[in-house]
């Protein structure tokens, strides 16, 4: 072999070895990869954790100034959190991209404490709807106010309207949704959906869900739903219905079109208490059945309108369920400082993300990477 040929052979071998080394160094997707999104969750002592879904590592925090973040609502544009702190006296508005608080307010003053039970911003974020209850400390007693549904103007920083409860029946919480353009507010009650225009908050319509959607059918009752992954203007979730003759309770999935006031409902089987978490593609959804000592994943095939099976797993008492950004992994969270990951196809336990503090809010799964989530910072 000539020297030239030897050199050529050697360079070819080196090139192959180099290529193999580069290939070996290229990170392979982990088994059960959950996607390239971002997880954000509020936790002790007083911050939101930002977790890179791809690496499952904490990549940042959003400091929370008012105490411990608790009941948290995401704005329609998914850029801000409206979070009520644990003592329920302050609302903090958090810019997710900038990772900082942009506003905070309280309704308490002097010896009057006003607890804010829920907060729902309108799509344009000009105002929030809140259910509040006051406790005034007097010389000899506390005077407890009735739960009140109020409109709070974010610019004027004051309550500008109190909306009377339907039929004068007080509620501790309000299930509120806005139309995509923000011109209508839907107030869900046990029997009906009351529709208000948001300019003057007069009731413009009433959708009597208490009436059967077809003859011989019982009235449907709303159950668990997943607002985060649902299409704006729609309400998809588990509904229950009892037939008027034998009073058998059946459960099913309903997709409610709020604008058209129509319900697309199909039954799945006997009524059972199951949670509901929709995958981002809205083709499947998952549920958790929890009984003492028995935990099951349920799967709903939304595309083919059928129940797709249930699988028992070794869960933990008190669980919340979310799907990952690519729908391939299921997150089990709530109570404690760990998020357990399960394969969405096989329901096998994969691994656990351990946080440095106990979780206090809902888990938000964003489809964008942490860098993309932060990129729209002002």
């Amino acid at each position: 072999m000539t020297t030239m040929k030897r050199l050529a052979l050697l360079s070819a071998v080196l090139a192959l070895a180099g290529a193999a080394l580069v290939h070996a160094q290229k990170p392979k997707p982990a088994a059960g990869a959950a996607g390239n999104g971002t997880l954000i969750i509020g936790a002790y002592p007083k911050q939101f954790w930002i977790i890179d879904e791809a690496t499952e590592k904490i990549v940042g925090t959003i400091p929370y100034q008012s105490g411990i973040p608790r009941r948290t609502t995401l704005s329609r544009d998914r850029k801000r959190f409206y979070s009520v702190e644990a003592a329920m006296e302050k609302v903090e508005i958090v810019d997710i991209a900038a990772r900082k608080t942009v506003d905070a307010f309280t309704l308490s003053e002097g010896n009057k404490k006003v607890r804010i039970r829920s907060v729902e911003p309108d799509p344009a974020q000009h105002f929030v709807m809140m259910v509040t209850a006051s406790a005034t400390k007097l010389v000899d007693r506390f005077e407890i106010g009735a739960p009140t549904l109020v409109q709070y103007d974010l610019k004027e920083r004051k309550i500008i309207r109190t909306i009377p409860w339907p039929n004068g029946e007080e509620r501790q919480f309000a299930n509120i949704q806005f139309s995509p353009d923000g011109k209508l507010m839907y107030l869900f009650t046990d029997q009906d959906v009351l529709i208000y225009e948001t300019a003057g908050f007069t009731q413009v319509d009433k959708w009597e869900l208490s009436k059967p959607i077809e003859e011989g059918f019982g009235r449907i009752e709303m159950g668990a739903r997943d607002v985060f992954n649902d299409e704006p203007g729609f309400y998809t979730g588990i509904f229950n219905v009892a037939d008027p003759v034998q009073h058998r309770r059946m459960m099913g999935i309903a997709r409610v079109n709020l604008a058209a006031k129509s319900v697309d409902f199909y039954t799945l089987g006997p009524s059972t208490g199951v949670s509901f978490a929709m995958a981002p593609n809205r083709k499947v959804a998952y549920g958790l059945f929890e009984d003492i000592g028995r935990y099951e994943f349920w799967k709903f095939d939304l595309e083919h309108r059928k129940f797709a099976g249930r699988t028992e797993f070794k869960g933990r008492p008190r669980m919340g369920l979310k799907t990952s950004s690519n729908g391939k992994v299921l997150y089990i969270y709530v109570a404690g400082n760990t998020i357990d990951l399960y394969d969405a196809d096989t329901y096998q336990y994969l691994r656990t993300i351990a946080l440095d503090g106990d979780m206090t809010t809902d888990l938000f799964v964003f489809p964008n990477t942490p860098a993309e989530v932060s990129s729209s910072a002002p």
Binding site: R316, P317, R318, A335, G336, N337, D356, T360
Partner: protein
Amino acid sequence: MNHLKSVNRKAVRVERATEPDVVALQRTGVPQAAHFPLGCSLVFSPGWEADRTGGTAGLCQPVERDLFDCHIGCYWPAQVPDQLNHAPDWTAKCAAAQKDWRKIDLVFP
């Protein structure tokens, strides 16, 4: 036999809440959970270390996993210091109860 007579509005509400406590044997849907009418000011629940059936199998395991949620939720205020009135800083030195519960402040009455 009813030995108690409600004398204020809250007691009347409690009495009313306990009226439907007899559950027939037929199953018409979601199983009825036991109803406990007494407890803290926000939530009616049995004492610490008892689940909705009166047993312990339904509690968080380990129990520290549920400690902080009870603190901020005022769930068992007689057994876990409540953050609204008495011990707002109870958890200030400990962010994860299961990991470092020894750092939780002692609270004396």
